[in-house]
């Protein structure tokens, strides 16, 4: 029974059903009436990631440090290299270049985990948290717990500022179980 001429792994040539080259190899010469395709391995820095009848392999792209790119996957003969922007930058398809990550204004924090090659996602600080700086990495921080320090709250916290504890020490000893910080 003639092997099925599946399009994914075969091609038709001179009325014959010949085998394509596997990923990582290119078609050096087509099949002949008497012999099947001749496939040769891709050269340095080249790849082909599909069964193919290409007469040349594809060149790996350059993860150009001069464009703030780093290789996140070096790729090999059968898989393309993948690049991403260096920390603090994200890939912007409009300019096809690495743009500075957005800084979250005071009152907002950077959502974690920070995702490589993606812009910062800023979320407003929830009640009990604050951020008093512009940053593309810092999350909102919890308000200081004055009672833990045996102090009184002199000024309430906002989403942009920490609470201010009174300077004088209260005489009462702080309760044990209150040691754990708010999440």
């Amino acid at each position: 029974v003639a092997p099925p001429c599946t399009q994914e792994r075969h091609y038709e040539h001179l009325g014959r059903c010949c085998s394509k080259c596997e990923p990582g190899r290119y078609l050096s010469s087509k099949c002949t009436p008497t012999s099947d395709s001749v496939c040769l391995p891709c050269g340095p820095d080249e790849y082909l990631d599909t069964w193919n009848e290409e007469d040349k392999c594809l060149l790996h792209k350059v993860c150009d440090a001069g464009k703030a790119l780093v290789a996140v996957d070096p790729g090999n003969h059968t898989a393309p290299r993948r690049c991403a922007c260096t920390a603090g930058y994200h890939w912007n398809p409009d300019c096809e270049c690495c743009r500075r990550n957005t800084e979250c204004a005071p009152g907002f924090g950077a959502e974690h985990p920070l995702r490589l090659n993606m812009d910062t996602v800023c979320t407003p600080c929830l009640l009990g948290f604050f951020s008093d700086i512009s940053s593309s990495t810092d999350t909102c921080r919890p308000w200081t717990n004055c009672s833990l320090l045996g102090r009184l709250e002199a000024q309430p916290g906002t989403n942009k500022s920490d609470v201010v504890c009174s300077s004088s020490l209260t005489l009462r000893k702080p309760p044990k179980e209150a040691q754990i910080y708010l999440p």
């Binding site: 340095p44 820095d45 080249e46 392999c57 060149l59 150009d64 440090a65 001069g66 464009k67 270049c97």
Partner: protein, 150 residues
């Protein structure tokens, strides 16, 4: 059609004759001409169309430029064993102001022309600011093809 050898981009900013090109991978290919240390040698007399495309780029992560005022240039030159020094065939480029507060700068130059070349003559490419060269194969390349015999 020869594309820049990304692994061998020269540093520095003074004019530099590029000597390291791919001739056999990606879009790079060569026939009826020979490449020897970055020079494209003509084997057959003829009228050739020569072209070059050069891209310069700078990202702030590479640190500040020495000066924000740049002159980014390409010179396609001809040398031959018979004539000692080289001859400028084509030039292109621009003075540029790449200010520090932009995170990324990019500029491309393209030149092309129709020239009568003799066997033994060699074409090479000089650029200013080589360290700013974009190493992608679709960015920095040069080539020639024969159009007519002489």
């Amino acid at each position: 059609h020869l594309t820049i050898n990304a692994a061998n981009i020269p540093t520095g900013k003074s004019i530099f004759t590029l000597s390291s090109w791919y001739h056999d991978r990606g879009w790079a290919k060569i026939s009826n001409m020979t490449l020897s240390n970055g020079k494209l040698r003509v084997n057959q007399d003829g009228f050739y169309y020569l072209y070059a495309n050069i891209c310069f780029r700078h990202h702030e992560t590479s640190g500040d430029l020495d000066s924000e005022y740049l002159q980014l240039m390409v010179y396609v030159i001809k040398t031959s064993i018979k004539i000692p020094n080289y001859q400028n065939l084509m030039k292109g480029g621009s003075t540029k102001y790449w200010s520090g507060n932009s995170e990324f700068h990019f500029y491309s130059i393209n030149v092309g022309g129709f020239f009568k070349l003799r066997a033994g003559e060699e074409i090479s490419v000089q650029v200013s600011n080589p360290s700013l060269l974009d190493p992608d194969q679709d960015a920095t390349y040069f080539g020639a093809f024969k159009v007519q015999d002489i």
